[in-house]
Symmetry: C2
Subunit: 272 residues, 2 copies
């Protein structure tokens, strides 16, 4: 399994001003690719706090570590400084990154979105990468995302603007993701039961899970008077999509018969 | 400043199945009370991973540590076991917690939401508290939230169902919060500029912030072609709401004149 962590950076998250939909989107995408999301942490725009989280993830031998936010031109955009601190590498102006920034501001000036394309200190800052960092293209914004490797960990620094993050993930990051995840397959199923009492479902779910290696069943209580939600997922490296789907279906058959015996109905629901 | 951390627990968060609106709601509420949100972390339903996060927060001498989720009756509800492990305390059945659970199931059985009020092992589990833990009432669901103290840290374990969490925060938790936050005051202001170029705003914002102790200005880029958002906040312990509002207004006057000199218009927006 590819073990993954996310560090979401920005005071706006901790102030409660912005809901961190980026991490949720990444969790869903990366789980779908067969990855195992281990941890998401939100921290403020503070170099030491960010660096401490990066070091923790490296110590846990995280396979893929993503940061979001803090790549922009303002003084509180500190992600690359924090990465440099955590990895013990100097920050150096990267010619290719600077060319990307220059090209983007040229385009934006031509569109009238910025007044000129001058490489001011604030703009040049976005091309200051930790040594051996590799800039990727940002198809939506100006700040280049950065790819780094340290030990067994691949570290990717993504911008925090959702449209930029998604554009990079689904564009320039695709080859890296394909290399990391290979043939892992994932399948899922979600349903709602007509039983609102999680304490009654607990022993039944335990019995089902015991019979199906790797299958994970999560129950989630809602208000009393409404049914408990179930989510059944299976992810296996080196298995085809058909094999994983077959494993999931076997578990579902067992789940449905176990619940039916107990007089509990389940209805499949589509996931968002 | 009261330094606060949240540990949001649940595989559903890491799978991307559930967006963690609880933490966002808590960040907003606690910032509004004058607290300083330092960190939010989402972890899976794994006892050791949860315990490691609790120990980290204790080492950072967090004043208020909140956990959300994992208090229910199923086998993957592991929060209290993890707290016991992290604090080195045994889990013991708490008579008052058991009375709360019994009372709630009695009410739910009377309403027909559960088939009976029997104290099954799955239900009794919710009354197994780390030693010296104090159960609070849950006005919405069955699992009692738990209050603990370790060193200088106050630890509160809240359920993950949003309606339960909010009901507890705004009900039984109020006296604790009043004791912690005392007379700290907080004020905020948000606006959108007609400048879409964060790199142009950066040096202007730096100049404004330098003149106003404690005032925090956060800029947030959107798509190019749309304006950068600004959020200005001020939180001060031992100050009245009027004093904090006056401090914020002084910073805003400076911000508006600095931006006006540069030909940038700002328009106030209401926060959600």
């Amino acid at each position: 399994m590819v073990e993954i962590e996310i560090i979401a950076i920005g005071n706006e998250l901790l102030l409660g001003d912005v809901l961190d939909t980026n991490s949720n989107w990444l969790c869903r995408k990366l789980t779908g690719l067969g990855g195992r999301m281990r941890r998401v942490v939100q921290v403020r725009d503070e170099q030491e706090a960010i660096a401490a989280e990066i070091q923790g993830a490296l110590q846990r031998e995280t396979d893929l570590l993503l940061t979001t936010g803090g790549l922009g031109p303002t003084d509180d955009d500190l992600t690359l400084q924090a990465v440099a601190l955590a990895l013990g590498r100097p920050l150096v102006e990267h010619p290719e990154a600077l060319a990307i920034v220059a090209r983007r501001y040229g385009e934006l000036a031509a569109l009238g979105h910025v007044s000129d394309a001058a490489l001011t200190p604030a703009r040049r800052k976005m091309a200051q990468l930790p040594a051996e960092g590799e800039p990727l293209f940002n198809p939506v914004g100006t700040a280049p995302p950065v790819l780094l490797r340290q030990g067994k960990t691949v570290l990717v620094c993504l911008p925090g603007v959702p449209a930029e993050l998604k554009g990079i993930f689904e564009g320039p990051l695709t080859p890296l993701l394909q290399g990391l995840f290979g043939a892992t397959s994932y399948a899922e199923w979600a349903a709602i039961t007509d039983c609102g009492d999680e304490s009654r479902l607990a022993p039944l779910l335990r019995r089902v899970v015991a019979g199906h290696r790797d299958v994970y069943v999560k129950s989630r209580a809602q208000h009393y008077g409404s049914g408990v939600k179930l989510r059944v997922t299976l992810s296996r490296a080196g298995s085809s999509a058909d094999e994983v789907q077959a494993g999931l279906q076997a578990a579902l058959a067992d789940l449905q018969s176990t619940l039916a015996e107990a007089g509990i109905a389940v209805e499949k629901v589509e996931q968002g």
